[in-house]
């Protein structure tokens, strides 16, 4: 799965030559054997490497603050979402929903690599949600819908229908 993500990312970044990947260990951690020097190990590490190769480092954040935020959500993606237990799904959706309630992207106003990898990682969770659950996590759903329609991102993943509700301002 990580390998398909990386190849989708390569396409989005418009990298000319596709890289060859292998995996290591039980968890199938991706490895990139580059020509010059040591192999790159780990999804986040390789993704950051690709972004730099494509000279798109704004995708890693354009200030020390936003770079820290991006790294944090990349870490969240690989530590919390990868192989998460059923019980965790609710917690993750709840946390993201709360976090996204007043921002557009994970790093605030700017689209970053964190959105891309989080989108790839959360896709299987969103696919399984019922209509009601999607409504309960309206901020995550909104963000997800936005990212899946972001030009060039969706690639290997099927689109998920997101119900649109008219949202009333709730006055007592």
């Amino acid at each position: 799965m990580a390998l398909r993500e990386l190849s989708s990312l390569e396409k989005y970044l418009e990298l000319k030559k596709p890289n060859k990947y292998s995996t290591q260990g039980d968890k199938k951690v991706p490895v990139l054997q580059s020509n010059n020097g040591a192999p790159q190990v780990g999804l986040v590490t390789i993704a950051c490497y690709l972004v730099k190769e494509a000279k798109r480092s704004e995708l890693l954040g354009n200030s020390a603050e936003s770079r820290a935020v991006v790294q944090q959500w990349l870490e969240y993606r690989v530590t919390r979402l990868n192989g998460c237990a059923k019980d965790d799904v609710k917690t993750i959706l709840k946390e993201l929903n709360l976090y996204l309630q007043d921002i557009t992207y994970l790093a605030g106003k700017q689209f970053t690599l964190a959105d891309i990898l989080m989108y790839y990682g959360i896709h299987p969770l969103i696919v399984d949600l019922t209509v009601l659950e999607k409504e309960q996590h309206v901020n995550v759903t909104r963000w997800f819908d936005h990212i899946q329609h972001y030009p060039g991102i969706r690639r290997h993943l099927p689109p998920v229908a997101v119900l649109r509700n008219r949202i009333y301002t709730s006055g007592h």
Binding site: A64, Y76, T79, D87, Y168, G171
Partner: protein, 860 residues
């Protein structure tokens, strides 16, 4: 709220992740405020579990990943992490951390240090190989980098402990010794571990969910929202803990100091912890529902009772909020004067709270002379300091009634959906908010004449001018006090949207008159007036009220409310007081609940859905049981629901079978087997273990209650009786009493220990179920000094019923709630609306749907 460009780092003692960031901070020398908080502190509002360390950036964003924090600190210092660095950090987060957590759990919580090496072996191997492949002193080169700091700090707790042999890992050992010898590490380790090594992390590790790879199922207490169902598994109890618990047990009761009888008026005292507690003032013209009761008065009552037992000098005031449109309306509806309406409903409120055993020190009302005096004083002070501005507002005026019409006194055709009976603030059909002047064919609700649009001059409180001052105060209050997460969040979002001037006057009769000659005939708008009620109610209690309200140095103020009331207590009212510049006591701890739903729908008076305060006593269920269940489902941290079936279940399983069963058995054994006298106790290891477990639960309870985590506190009471039941079940005193000398002595010890735990339970229950608590102590004939003894310090479980103590008559404490009884109640309160109710009436009663929503409506 971190507006002044400062970075703030939150850490907690004994948390291994904090070692990393503190070392990185020392290493980089970045300027940053460090604040040490409790493990349970939820610094990052959107995460479900408390996450520490956390870094609050000047932009208001939180970084909760320790690695990202370290990367950030290094980057600020000018060292951006390179590709190799990132790779090590990713490995640390995904591979090393899970292994470390499991190893820490083994070593610290379960006490099996021997397994640690096996768990860590693969990771240590990998790291050693990585280091030996390149012959460099550090992971990424000749100089220390963020990767070195993060990895060696992560490993520090184990590698600095000589018991883990690193003999074969030469490169790893050399690298670690080199990095860990740095001053930054020594200093960070001292702060986090306090020289206690692995044991320094014990209290932290005990609060962590079990690592996933271990055998137990994941017991993370996140979503179901009820406390007692999520047991934390068997906690390991160490030898030292058992000995300490046994030692405390032997100390016996304090001879002094007793919790003194309250003497009114209660006033702040020099050498005391002076606590002022308020609960949001319930609006007078309606009967409060269960959601109102748990959100404000009951929560504040439990905390106040707890505080008094802790020996704090505490004053709890509340009262009815009586001015405003809704009262005028209700008066017209019932054919009474507003004053008569207030008198009538004030009495209704008072009697409901009395039935619920809400122990106010004073329950007052806002329609008093003191209210006028204090509100006008604050008004003149605001005026004098230039915080009031004038503006013109367009309003509807009915000439035949000779008055301006509040939004709710107008009806007309909805400009959006053409519904004929739209109200002046909202259309009941399409739900849209309406500005009263936009209604087509508006009618005065009283005389049915057509009102005219007239402009009227009003006064506004200049909030933008007070914003900086407010933010400075908020920064301090929210970081030093116990504000609930929702309170902080709601406040932050108000500030982020920017403050606007708010109108403080209204064209009404029933209110506090505006004293300014240019605004005669006007009264203060309720949102300005009502919170001043806290002060005036205190002033009606004692003429020395200023000792509470103008004394921020001696007094700590707690405000209890439901979340819709937060902005008025955190932004608007503080602005009034700050602007008045008279050294007012401002809120230190803002405690807001989420909403309580009724059987998964909303409480609604107009639809007849839900249980209202005056009906609770007609159910035949005792007040204490109501209190217990409401506190058990207290919407603490998330919405929760009242459900009849669940109430019956909790009554039968927790109160009857768990708590009541244990206390009753313990007492019955003393009566039956030992002629009513507590037998001699010879503590064995097993008994000491129980004492240690019970002491731990007591200490958790005290910690949580100090932080106003009322629902979570209850969980630990129920845990204790569960331990107790298990203890009796295993030891079978009813069999041993028939055995030989040793067996009979054993039966005596088990009975004696159990009945003492029952006494402790009565003390811990006291804030929640005052009547039951006193009944237990009466049955056990327990000395009153047991309360102050057990609640002192961090919680002290002593033997308060010593051998030879004669107990009273023991009888069952709780009754079973039967299925048919509950079904009948459910039907009765379910919300079937009488078919023949005329629609007209429905609209009218809609006016007063929700007590707590009122201050909310007034600003929209």
């Amino acid at each position: 709220m971190a507006s002044n460009g400062q970075i703030r780092l939150f850490v907690s003692e004994g948390n291994p992740q904090c070692l990393k960031v503190l070392a990185a901070l020392e290493e980089t020398g970045v300027q940053c405020g460090v604040q040490c908080v409790n493990h349970e502190e939820r610094v990052v509002p959107f995460l479900s579990r408390p996450a520490l360390p956390a870094l609050l950036l000047p932009s208001g964003l939180h970084i909760f990943s320790s690695n990202a924090i370290c990367q950030y600190l290094f980057e600020v210092k000018g060292q951006e992490s390179n590709q190799l660095c990132n790779q090590w950090l990713e490995w640390e987060a995904t591979e090393l951390q899970p292994a470390l957590l499991q190893a820490l759990h083994m070593a610290v919580v379960q006490g099996k240090s021997s397994d640690v090496f096996n768990i860590l072996q693969a990771s240590l191997n990998y790291l050693d190989q990585g280091l030996s492949k390149q012959s460099l002193p550090y992971l990424t080169g000749e100089a220390i980098s963020v990767a070195d700091v993060v990895l060696s700090a992560a490993l520090y707790p184990f590698l600095s402990d000589s018991s883990l042999a690193l003999g074969e890992y030469k490169s790893l050992k050399a690298w670690f010794d080199h990095v860990a010898a740095r001053h930054s590490f020594q200093s960070a380790a001292q702060k986090v571990l306090q020289g206690k090594g692995l044991q320094g992390m014990k209290s932290y590790m005990q609060r962590q969910p079990l690592p996933q790879s271990s055998v137990c199922r994941d017991s993370q207490p996140t979503n179901n929202g009820t406390p007692a169902e999520c047991d934390e598994g068997e906690r390991m109890v160490s030898e030292e803990e058992m000995e300490a618990a046994a030692l405390t047990w032997c100390k016996g009761l304090n001879s002094s100091p007793l919790v003194k009888e309250r003497q009114h008026p209660i006033l702040p005292q020099e050498d005391k912890k002076n606590i002022l507690v308020t609960s949001a003032l319930p609006y007078v013209n309606n009967v409060p529902h269960l959601g109102n009761i748990i959100g404000c008065v009951l929560s504040a009552d439990v905390f106040s009772r707890y505080g008094r037992l802790r020996g704090w000098n505490l004053l709890y005031v509340c009262g009815t909020d009586e001015y405003g449109t809704a009262t005028e309306n209700k008066a017209r509806e019932e054919g009474l004067t507003p004053q008569q309406i207030c008198d009538k409903y004030h009495a209704v409120h008072a009697s409901i709270y009395k039935w619920f055993q809400i122990d106010f020190d004073f329950f007052g009302r806002t329609t008093t002379e003191k209210q006028t005096e204090i509100a006008q004083d604050i008004f003149w002070r605001l005026n004098k300091h230039g915080f009031l501005v004038e503006d013109t507002v367009e309003q509807l005026r009915c000439e035949s009634c000779q008055r301006f019409l509040a939004d709710r006194f107008v009806e007309g055709i909805c400009p959006f959906c053409n519904y004929a009976e739209a109200r002046g603030d909202q259309c009941d059909k399409c739900g849209r908010l309406i500005n009263a002047v936009e209604l087509r064919e508006p009618q005065c609700k009283v005389c049915r004449q057509t009102p005219n649009i007239r402009s009227s001059k009003h006064l506004f409180l200049d909030l933008p001018k007070l914003e900086t001052q407010l933010e400075q105060w908020l920064d301090k209050s929210t970081s030093t006090g116990d504000w609930t997460a929702n309170a902080k969040q709601i406040t932050r979002s108000w500030l982020r949207d920017g403050l606007k001037p708010r109108c403080i006057t209204r064209d009404l009769h029933w209110g506090t008159p505006v004293p300014h000659p240019d605004f005669k005939e006007k009264v203060f708008y309720v949102w300005f007036d009502a919170p001043i009620g806290y002060l005036s109610i205190t002033a009606n209690y004692t003429d020395q009220w200023q000792k509470w309200w103008k004394n921020p140095h001696q007094v700590e103020l707690y405000n209890f409310m439901a979340k819709d009331n937060v902005p008025f207590h955190s932004v608007v009212f503080p602005c009034s007081l700050l602007g008045a510049q008279d050294n007012y006591t401002l809120v230190n701890h803002l405690v807001a609940t989420e909403y309580l739903n009724y059987e998964d729908t909303k409480f609604s008076k107009s639809r007849g859905v839900g249980v209202f305060g005056d009906m609770a006593k007609d159910t035949g269920i005792p007040s204490d049981v109501w209190r217990f269940y409401l506190l058990y489902v207290r919407p603490e941290g998330q919405d929760s629901a009242f459900s009849w079936a669940d109430m019956a279940l909790k009554n039968n399983s927790e109160l009857l079978n768990n708590l009541g069963n244990f206390i009753n058995r313990a007492g019955m054994f003393v009566t039956r087997f030992f002629e009513g006298c507590v037998p001699a106790m010879e503590l064995l290891q097993e008994d000491k273990k129980l004492l240690a477990m019970v002491s731990w639960e007591l200490q958790q309870y005290i910690q949580l209650m100090d932080k106003v985590r009322i629902r979570d506190g209850l969980k630990h009471i129920l845990n204790i009786s569960r331990h107790g039941n298990q203890y009796i079940q295993v030891n079978e005193p009813w069999k041993k009493i028939k055995g030989g000398e040793t067996d009979r002595q054993r039966a005596g010890t088990v009975t004696g220990v159990s009945v003492n735990i029952a006494c402790l339970l009565s003390v811990m229950l006291s804030p929640y179920m005052p009547t039951v608590s006193q009944t237990i102590r009466d049955q056990l004939n327990a000395p009153q000094s047991c309360i102050s003894t057990m609640f002192q310090g961090t919680g002290t479980f002593v033997c308060s019923l010593s051998a030879g103590h004669r107990i009273g008559t023991v009888s069952p404490l709780f009754q079973k709630l039967e299925v048919d009884q509950i079904e009948a109640l459910k039907k009765r309160f379910g919300g079937q609306q009488p078919e023949d109710e005329p629609p007209k009436k429905k609209v009218l009663s809609n006016l007063c749907v929700c007590v707590c929503a009122r201050w909310c409506c007034c600003v929209k």
